[in-house]
Every structure is written in structure tokens, then in C-alpha cells.
Symmetry: C2
């Protein structure tokens, strides 16, 4: 680090890059106070701010104390904030913030930018990969249905349920970004934040409190940079081996149906690694569709005999996965226990705080209470792991209301964005304490700073069962790429999408395209959607089932390659699904590609995300590429290839040590 | 006025009401700087602000100098603003603002409020009459199509044309409000402003410059208050007598069609005061519908012989009205003259600035250039008045782009909201200089501070030809009431509405209800709409034509009463259409009634604004009321009456000196 003093200002540099610069004319930091309002309706937030003051911190005073530099900022005559700037042992730059004014609750900092710079990250962003030119409110919430105000589905969702969302809504926001200049910048806060990338010469980072610190580091390569980031937020464990053996079928409806579906799929040549039964604990019907009975224990009514069948299935090579979330259904046994023991978030007066999940209400387990965490971990250990589940969806955690009262005494507004980390930690520890990290997995849609070390797999949330760019198949790709840069190296999506509302129905073509796509991700798992009857399913007809068979074999045949890529994620923090620029830094075009990805080092995937396409145009960085289905060689540039169903545009490097494996894919698909 | 000094603050009172109060904790004024962006698309603006700073002006210093008190505000050690507070000769309170910092371009002032207070005004507001609980951006623009984001038409308009609008969009904004506490408050600025009535104990008035002054006054009655306001913004002339003789038929298509329509209407018993032919200067077709040929002179092609017919019609008691607006069509004669003489707004480099009006482009006549004003006034005198027009729609004036260059050197951003006043002045002076104020009228939809003294009649803009509350018939009523409180006492609307897009078609029922409504306003004028072929017209069938006949006779029969009410507007500034609380101050309910009005002192009108109603519920303040159609007596309260077509809910005061006139209405209607 290097702090250069100028007349009326100073500049902070790290590894030859300006981090921020301050002058009387262009102060780096503004402080003030605001009154925010959070209006939550079923996980969708209408957030407004009334900014009472925003004061440029023009006055500054620099003190050097050994390895640290302390800068006090304020307005003339009054000190507001002390920055303590130093390098960590690992060589990262830290700017610690220490507020000197209690009334300040708004923070804006201008980090240096250049006009042509591109930035990525901010958690899992589903509409834009390059975030420049927009601002990104960072608040974990429902991701929205449609997510584009010009989309009719979005309008219907907004009008009926306040649920349409916008380009920035995400289950997993994180106040961290990565630049094409090979640095990353993280603002440590769990408050509501907003990163504004609309300005030419600065990125303005806003937070609704004084953040703990700013973290900045730079590397010579993107692989080193994501490794660095991964070290900051925690390393993910490797996926259990069995996940790579085939598809995890998302099925529902009871023991017999599940067994029949497995049987039929296998007969059609489907490699079945597991079944995922989100209704293992029983269901309830609402106008939204089938919803689950949120009292986390096996439902012998819906799944008779599963307590023995689950073990037989496992011996037969089929894992059984279930579902849980951090809420307990009003009036049921877990709710009663939690309420009696004081494990639930409450109203300010201590009264019950029930959250509306759409025609039913739940208590929020208070994860700031260590005893409550231990108890909930116990529920997972006993009711899920103890029952024999090999994995589960650890759903939700975005619904912490800002006005509930928590046992640690901290404002729920400040805890809200930290809830996914707390939820991930409980799941991870339950598995770890059972010694099952290598064998059991869970997957989440919500996320936040530091949950990386706990969350085994991310899934892309609730895509629409249609072709819309912002909320359909296409949106999964920027989601995977942005999350991957934040240290979440293992990502997948519901095969076929999820949200089935407002007239949307999953077509056969969409289902088949999504199967094609997910065969080239580190995990393959289908979902029936919230209204299964409206959707084409993997077993709706034989053609689809055979298609799934083909693509599940393709997926399974890549196990050695995927296993190596997954290991690389754990060892070096390099995500399995990578932006093209990760390995082609000199390629300017690569920085603008948001609907293609590298799967590991040697494979490029360009999923078809529009309907009725017969060929597909895509970009290849300069290298020796082989088209997986035709064997045709490509050197790079914009190319168009045939893209029938079952032959998603996939290319591998001629020089790959796995070239023989890839060359065999057409054969595997046919077998 | 009275300025009370407190420890660390002061309070400014006027006529026993606190105007604003200042303390270190709660400063009255905040100053700062911002970077606004105005993205205009065909008169619809997307306006954003990046507020760089917002500084509470905590420090203050009070100096008394004779009758004036000067207060200097600032942040510690730096003066930012001097307030000069004094009373005018008329006893109004003025707070003059004098900026001491060039870089300040954002102003926020907190005017004292009480939690239960209700406020009205802000120009012509079409969605809300009581403005409390919302903020109102004040910027003259298209009013929006649908004006409710939950309305499908709004969504279509937004998606296709960025034209959906919202509750606050209006052609006529004004930074003035009236309180139920019988005061008014005006912020003299033509900059973008935003009045925020969401706070309990203050109204926050925002402007994007330092306003000239704040004006405040209070009266003992609402009639005195509107008289006071009218004195501030200017008194309107009386309507020409002939306007009250019947309906002005909005017709198009040429001389023969016009004569035929007059003939047929008269035969059906319609009292025809005039015809309004917006296409008198010829038409052009666009995808929006028929548009006019914006080169302001008689079209002998479309209207052969009109130069003589217009005088024959006048002798026959039928006035002929036309159309003009402040733009000139690219390439046409007026454009060429204006361009040659330098009468058009330009780009910064002096190049042509053409504004997109939807498939055609126009120059903006530069009204900051006195010569240009005289020239345009001459166009009106020669081409309109000289040709024999008895009136016209003076359309538009909301489209001044913020980035054009004007001859007075002032920023177009600051001129934008003043354009309607400049436009009104030109029209008024053209008529006045011809000595025709008593005989010729023009009507506008756009407005702004001070245009009252020039604008003879307001019309409610472009309602949708449907039943939506925010942009249909209903919306005219809060529009008339809010504008009326600002000193615009004469208001009317297009009978049947105007905007015919996105599948909307005017039904017969809507046309008949609108005829019923407009028979009880000070002017009755129909409009075919932008797609006449999609709409039910006054002469589409005999039933409608007879209906218009009935209601035009009703309207004409009220001439003595309306004439007196119109005179009262000119003399005392009391609008013709009045909120119920104007004369029933003690009635708490009256303050919440936004879809009814008093027509003059003695008549209450409650237009039916929903389809397929057979009866109508409405509110009557305590008085002796007579139902106009049944003669039934009412004392007040919520009542329900039969409301068939042709019998709009109308009540008159039993004690009215015009009681006999009203009692005859059923007979007049039948005749």
C-alpha cells in the first residue's frame, strides 16, 4: 500500500492501483443520516430511503503509526470518521472505519474507477454480468418473477403479488465486486447496501451503517484473484462423489410414485444418482400451487415405508434427498417447542412474530440465539440425517423482517443480510458434526458474505418456466458466473425452471433445452415446478425421458473431468463454471460474454436459451477448439453451429488431457 | 408576522400559524448539490437525481432591520443562505432567499405541518385531491396514459411509448399548496420541484435551484383564501357569453361534414354554441391516429369555403374554433420563417433542435425572445383571429427540452416549467391586443405559476376513453378542484375523453355519462378522440344525439347561474367548480370528497364515473338540498339516489335565488 499526499488531498494505492482518492473538491467519503422503510410482502421488499443529510467529508488529517496510517475525516471543525489503513499478513489492503458520530447511519464511498472499466459480482446477479452502468441494491429477497418491468409476466406478478422484481433482485447479494483490472473490492457490512457503477471515474458504495472495513486486493491473473477471494470468504468442500453419477430426479407424491419414476427412468437409460423429494414431510395446497408442510420430519402418511425404502434405495445406488427451511409452521410441533423455549424472533413487545408465506404463517427461528441454532441443528441431525436423507434443499432465509426482535439485541435490519450465512452454517455444521461432509450435500438459493465456507452448492433460485432472458434459462448463466467470482464455485439450477404462474407452462422444448444445459454443470437436478400439472416433466413422454437418459449419461461420463474441476474449486478457489475471461485475459470480447461459460479449464458451453432455434451463434476465444458433437475444429471468433436438441453448443480444447473423454460424448449419448 | 427566538433556534409565525421552525436538531433548510438527468420521450420524462450533498443548515444568525428580519443560515463557520423575511403591503408573508454559495443547486425546506393536516393543490392533480401521504414531483409533462402502474393500459403505454405516467404526472404542476388550516404556501421557482407531504410534522419542499422566495398567507375562510391566491397569480377574464349558449361540438373532416353535423345536431334539439375543428389547418396520419398539420393557417383543401362560411355560421349563432400549439412543423412555411429569423430554440452549437412529436418533428418557438413572441402573436392575430376564429385550443407547451439553448441565456431546465405561462401570455395578448377578450376564448391543458392571469379556460387534458379512476372521467374532478384552488376558476374536459389506444374504445354509455357531467361544468365541448373511428361519438346514433340535445339545453338553461358564478371567479377569485369544504368548513367529511363538487354556491354535482350504475351514493353537507330530477328534499349525509343516464346526481340549495331555474331542469331536459 501507498498513501500519496497531495495539496488538499491524498490518494490510497495498493499494488499500483488507486483504491480511492480524496480532495476538497472531490471527497472520497460522504456521511449522513437517513430513515429507511422496508415494506415486505412475502419476501418481496419495497425499500425507500429518506436521506436527511449527506455531508461531504472534506476535512482530513493524516497520522502515521508504524505500519498503519490513520486518517480522520470530517467537516470543518468536526471529526466524523477515522480510517485505519493497513495491509494484512496476506498482503491485502484494509481500510477500517471507526465512526465518531453516533447519529450517522448512511455511508457513501467513492472507489476509484476508469471510464472503460468493467465490473462483476455483487453476489449472484441474474440479469447483468458486467454491472457497469447500473446500480445494485444489495438486500437478500425473493428474486422476482419476470424481473423486467417491460415483461407482461412481471407486470402480472407485480400487480397480483408485488412479486415482479427487477434486474437487481436476488436471493444472494454481496457487497463485493471484481474488476476487469484484476482487483476485487469488498465492503464489510451486513446493512442494506447499494453499489452504484453508473459513474465514469468512481464506483460509489453505499451502506446503511458505517461498514466495518473495506477490503481490496489485486492479482496478476484472474485465477489468482478468485483464489484470493475464496481465501477471504471461505473454501467450499468438494461435492460428494455420487452427485456426479447421474441426475437427481425431482419427484413428489409418495413412496410408490417415487419408486415407479426411478424404475421407469432407469429403464429408459437414465443414470439416476438420486431422487429429491421436497414433499418428504408432507404437503399443503395453496392458490400458488403445492406447498410443503413446514414441520421438518418424515411424513409416513405421504411416504409410507420410506424409513426402510430409503436404505434399500441407497444400496441400489439411488440417494434420497429432502427439504428444509429456517421457518416452522404455526401450531405444529417444532413451532411449539421453539416458542416455548424462546427460540423464535418476536415482536418488540415479546409477542409472536409470524411471517406470511402465502396463505400460511410461520415462526422465524432466531439464529442469533446459540441455543436455538443448536436445537435446529439437532432437528437436521435427527429428522433429516438420522432418517437417512443424503441431502436436501436448504431453502429460503431471505424473509427476516426488519422489525422483529432478536436475542442478540442487534437490529434485524442489520441481521437480515447475514441470515443466509447463519442458515448455511447450521446446515454445514449439522453435516460436519455427523462426519458426513464427503457423503451428504445441501443446496441453497440465498447467500451473503462469508456463507461460502458453509454452503456446499448454490442453486439459481426460482427461474420462470419460460424463455424470458431475465428470469428464464438464460439468467442462470450470469447467476453462476457472478456467484462463481465471489467464491461459490459450485452452481446449478432447477432443470426446467420453477415458477409456473400467470399463464406460464413449461414446454417440452424448454425442458429438453434445460436438460441439455444442466448436463454441462456440476450438478443435475430436476424440479417439477410449483404447479407440476401445468408443466412438461422429464417423464411426460418417452422422448423426453430418453433425452434425459442421453444427457444424464453424457453428464455421468464427464465425472473424472468434473471431479477434477470441483477439486480445483476446493483447492484453488477457481469456480467450476467460469467466465471466458478467466483463462483468456487478453481477449477483449470475452469480458462481454454473459451467456456462455467455461466448464472447468477445457470446455466452453453456450446453452441455447431461445425457443425454436436450430443453430446457435457463439463466441470462442482464440484456441484450438473441437465441437463436441461434430468433431469440427474451430480456432476462435464468432461462430455458428447446428444446435439440435440433445446437442447443446459445447466445445473442448484439442489439447485437453480429457480430450478422449470429450471425443466419446456423441457415442455416450447414443448408447 | 412574528419571529420567536428560542434557545438554538427560532420560529417564524404568520397570522398565528407557525410557518416554519428551526433548531439545531431539526433544521428548517437543507442545501446541497445534485446532478439531475431528464430523459424526454415525446413529452414523457424520466427524471433522476444524483444528490451529491445535502447539508443541514444548522448555524443561524438573526438580524433585524426595520420591518424586515434577515436570517443567515449555514454550516459551522460558513454562510450559505440569507433569508429576508417581511410582510407585503397586502399582509402576506415573504421569505426571500439569497444564496451565498454558487455551487448550491438543491434546496429543501421544511414547512410546519400537523399530523392531521390535509393539503390540496400543486397545480392540477388528477389522481389525488388531498395530497397528504405522497410526494408530488412538479414538472410540466404529458400526464400519462392510465396513470396507475397496476393498470394494464398503463403498462402497455409504458412498454410501447414510455407513456404510462403515474399519479403525479400533470400538464399543469405548480409549487403551491393549500391547507385545510386555511393557509396557502407558494415556493417561487420554475425549477424542477418536489413537494413531499409524507411527513407528520413538516411538508418538505424541494427545488433544483435556490427559489426566489416563499410566500405564505392565511385567511379566515376558504373563499377569502382563494381570493387571496387569485390576487397573487392573476385574475382570469370572464368567459365570452356565447360559450354558455350550448355545446361546442368537436368535429373534424372538412366544411361539408361540419355543416352537416351542425344541421343534424340542431334538428335533434342540440343547443350548438360552436364547433371546434382542431383540423382546420389540415391533418397528417400517424400510427397514433390523426394528427394535425402544425403550420398554423387555414387549410382551403380540407376546409374549402370556410373563409366565408365562418362568418355565416357566426351570424347563425355558431362560433368556429380552431387549434394551435407552440411548435412549428419542420420544413413548412412558419418553420422556415422562424428558423431564418432565429426564433427557434437551438442546440448548444446553434444547430437545429427538432423535437419528436411521434412520427414528425418540430421546431420550438423561443418564447424567451421577445421578437419571436411578437411574431407568433402575429401569427395568432392574422391566421387565427384574422381568419375569423372565435377561439382555439392552445395545446401543449410541456415539451421544452432541458438541453436546448434559448435566447435569454437561461437554462432550459429552469425555463421548462415557465413555458406554459409564456405560451398563455402570447395567446392572451393576441386576443387582448385585438380588443376581443369578451368575444374570443382559448383553452389550455398546460399550466404553471402565474399563467392564471393569461389562461382563459383550462381543460383537463387527455383522459382515457374508459372508466379508469386515475385517467378517466373521475380524474377530471380532482383536476378541476385542485386547479381551482390555484386560481384557475374555469375548467372543463373533453366530453367523452380523448386517448383511444391500447384497445380502449369509447362506449356509448361513457359518452352519455360524460355529456351528463359536462352539462354541469362552465363549458361543454366534445372531442372525437385521437382515433375517432374507434369511439362512440355524439352523433353515432340518434339516442346519443337526443341525449346531447337534452343535456345541452340543461346546460344552456343554467346560463344566468353560470354567468354569475363566472363573474364571481373574475371578481373574487372563487372558482366555478369548488370543493365541498369551500362553503362547508365545519364539515370534516367534506375535506375527503374528491369526486363531487359544488358548481357555484348552490349546486352539488356527483358525476357517475363507473359503468353500469343505476344508482349512486354521494355525500351532502348539512343544508337544505333538492334533488334536481325528482325534487326530493335532502338534509345532508351519505345518500343514494337513482342515477339513470340523463339524470346525473345533481342537487341544489332550496334557498338558492336560482331555485326556480333549477326546478325547471327536468322540464328543460324533456323539451
Amino acid at each position: 500500500m501507498n498513501i500519496v499526499k497531495q495539496e488538499n488531498g491524498f490518494t490510497v494505492l495498493h499494488k499500483d492501483r488507486t483504491v480511492f482518492t480524496h480532495s476538497l473538491d472531490k471527497p472520497a467519503i460522504f456521511l449522513g443520516s437517513g430513515q429507511g422503510t422496508f415494506d415486505m410482502y412475502r419476501g418481496n421488499f419495497d425499500i425507500k430511503d429518506y436521506v436527511e443529510s449527506r455531508l461531504p467529508m472534506r476535512a482530513f488529517r493524516i497520522d502515521e503509526e508504524g505500519d498503519k496510517t490513520s486518517i480522520t475525516l470530517g467537516v470543518e471543525g468536526e471529526d466524523y470518521l477515522t480510517l485505519t489503513i493497513y495491509e494484512t499478513e496476506e498482503g491485502r489492503l484494509i481500510v477500517d472505519f471507526n465512526s465518531l458520530k453516533d447519529e450517522v447511519n448512511r455511508f457513501w464511498m467513492r472507489v476509484h474507477a476508469t471510464p472503460e472499466e468493467k465490473v462483476y459480482g455483487c453476489g449472484e446477479q441474474l440479469t447483468y454480468f458486467n454491472l457497469r452502468g447500473k446500480n445494485f441494491p444489495l438486500w437478500t429477497s425473493e428474486p422476482g418473477v419476470g424481473r423486467n418491468k417491460n415483461n407482461y409476466v412481471t407486470w402480472l406478478a407485480d400487480t397480483k403479488d408485488k412479486a415482479g422484481g427487477d434486474y437487481y433482485n436476488t436471493n444472494y447479494p454481496q457487497p463485493t465486486f471484481v474488476s476487469n483490472d484484476k482487483y476485487f473490492c469488498h465492503l464489510q457490512t451486513t446493512a442494506y447496501a447499494d453499489f452504484d457503477f453508473r459513474h465514469d471515474d468512481f464506483h460509489e458504495l453505499q451502506a446503511w451503517n458505517i461498514p466495518d472495513y473495506l477490503l481490496f486486493d489485486r492479482e496478476d491473473s484472474f485465477t489468482a484473484l478468485v483464489g484470493n477471494i475464496s481465501n477471504v470468504f471461505g473454501t467450499q468442500p468438494e461435492l460428494p462423489d455420487w452427485v456426479l453419477d447421474g441426475v437427481i430426479l425431482g419427484v413428489q407424491g409418495g413412496t410408490d410414485i417415487t419408486l415407479e419414476k426411478i424404475e421407469r427412468a432407469r429403464k429408459a437409460g437414465v443414470k439416476v444418482a438420486g431422487v429429491w423429494n421436497q414433499d418428504w414431510q408432507g404437503i399443503k395446497m395453496t392458490s400458488f400451487g403445492k406447498r410443503l408442510h413446514w414441520n421438518w420430519e418424515w411424513s409416513p402418511e405421504l411416504y409410507p415405508g420410506l424409513d426402510t425404502k430409503i436404505h434399500e434405495l441407497k444400496e441400489d445406488g439411488v440417494r434420497f434427498l429432502g427439504y428444509i427451511n429456517p421457518y416452522v409452521l404455526e401450531g405444529q410441533s417444532l413451532y411449539k417447542i421453539a416458542k416455548e423455549k424462546g427460540y423464535l424472533a418476536t415482536k418488540a413487545d415479546g409477542g409472536d412474530y409470524l411471517v406470511d408465506f402465502g396463505e400460511f404463517y410461520c415462526g422465524v427461528v432466531d439464529f442469533t440465539n446459540d441455543e436455538a441454532c443448536e436445537w435446529y441443528k439437532g432437528v437436521i441431525k435427527e429428522n433429516l440425517i438420522g432418517f437417512g436423507l443424503d441431502g436436501w434443499m436448504a431453502d429460503f432465509s431471505e424473509y427476516l423482517p426488519t422489525d422483529c426482535t432478536l436475542s442478540n439485541g442487534r437490529s434485524a435490519e442489520l441481521e437480515h443480510n447475514d441470515w443466509p450465512r447463519r442458515w448455511a452454517k447450521i446446515n454445514h455444521e449439522a453435516i460436519e458434526e455427523c462426519g458426513k461432509i464427503d457423503d451428504i450435500l445441501f443446496f441453497m438459493r440465498a447467500g451473503g458474505t462469508g456463507f461460502q465456507r458453509y454452503c456446499h452448492v448454490l442453486w439459481a433460485g426460482d427461474q420462470c418456466v419460460d424463455w424470458c432472458i431475465e428470469d428464464g434459462l438464460a439468467s442462470v448463466i450470469p447467476g453462476a458466473l457472478s456467484a462463481g467470482l465471489m467464491g461459490n464455485g459450485i452452481h446449478h439450477s432447477d432443470v426446467g425452471g420453477y415458477t409456473t404462474l400467470h399463464g406460464m407452462k413449461r414446454t417440452k422444448e424448454l425442458m429438453m433445452r434445460w436438460i441439455d444445459f444442466c448436463a454441462f454443470t456440476p450438478m443435475m437436478r430436476s424440479h417439477e415446478g410449483n404447479r407440476p400439472g401445468d408443466n412438461h416433466q422429464f417423464d411426460t413422454d418417452d422422448e423426453t425421458l430418453f433425452h434425459l437418459g442421453r444427457m444424464s449419461r453424457v453428464f455421468a461420463s464427464m465425472k473424472p473431468y468434473l471431479k477434477a474441476a470441483i477439486a480445483e474449486n476446493t483447492e484453488a478457489g477457481i469456480p467450476v463454471m467460469r467466465p471466458l475471461f478467466m483463462h483468456y485475459e487478453q481477449d477483449e470480447t470475452a469480458y462481454d460474454i454473459q451467456f456462455q461459460y467455461l466448464l472447468g479449464r477445457d470446455v466452453i458451453v453456450a446453452p441455447v436459451y431461445n425457443k425454436e432455434e436450430t443453430e446457435w451463434k457463439l463466441y470462442l476465444p482464440e484456441d484450438d477448439w473441437v465441437h463436441a458433437w461434430s468433431g469440427q475444429a474451430f480456432k476462435g471468433g464468432w461462430v455458428t453451429v447446428d444446435a439440435p436438441l440433445g446437442e447443446p453448443p459445447v466445445f473442448y480444447r484439442k489439447s485437453s488431457e480429457y480430450a478422449d473423454l470429450f471425443a466419446a460424448l456423441p457415442q455416450v449419448a447414443k448408447a
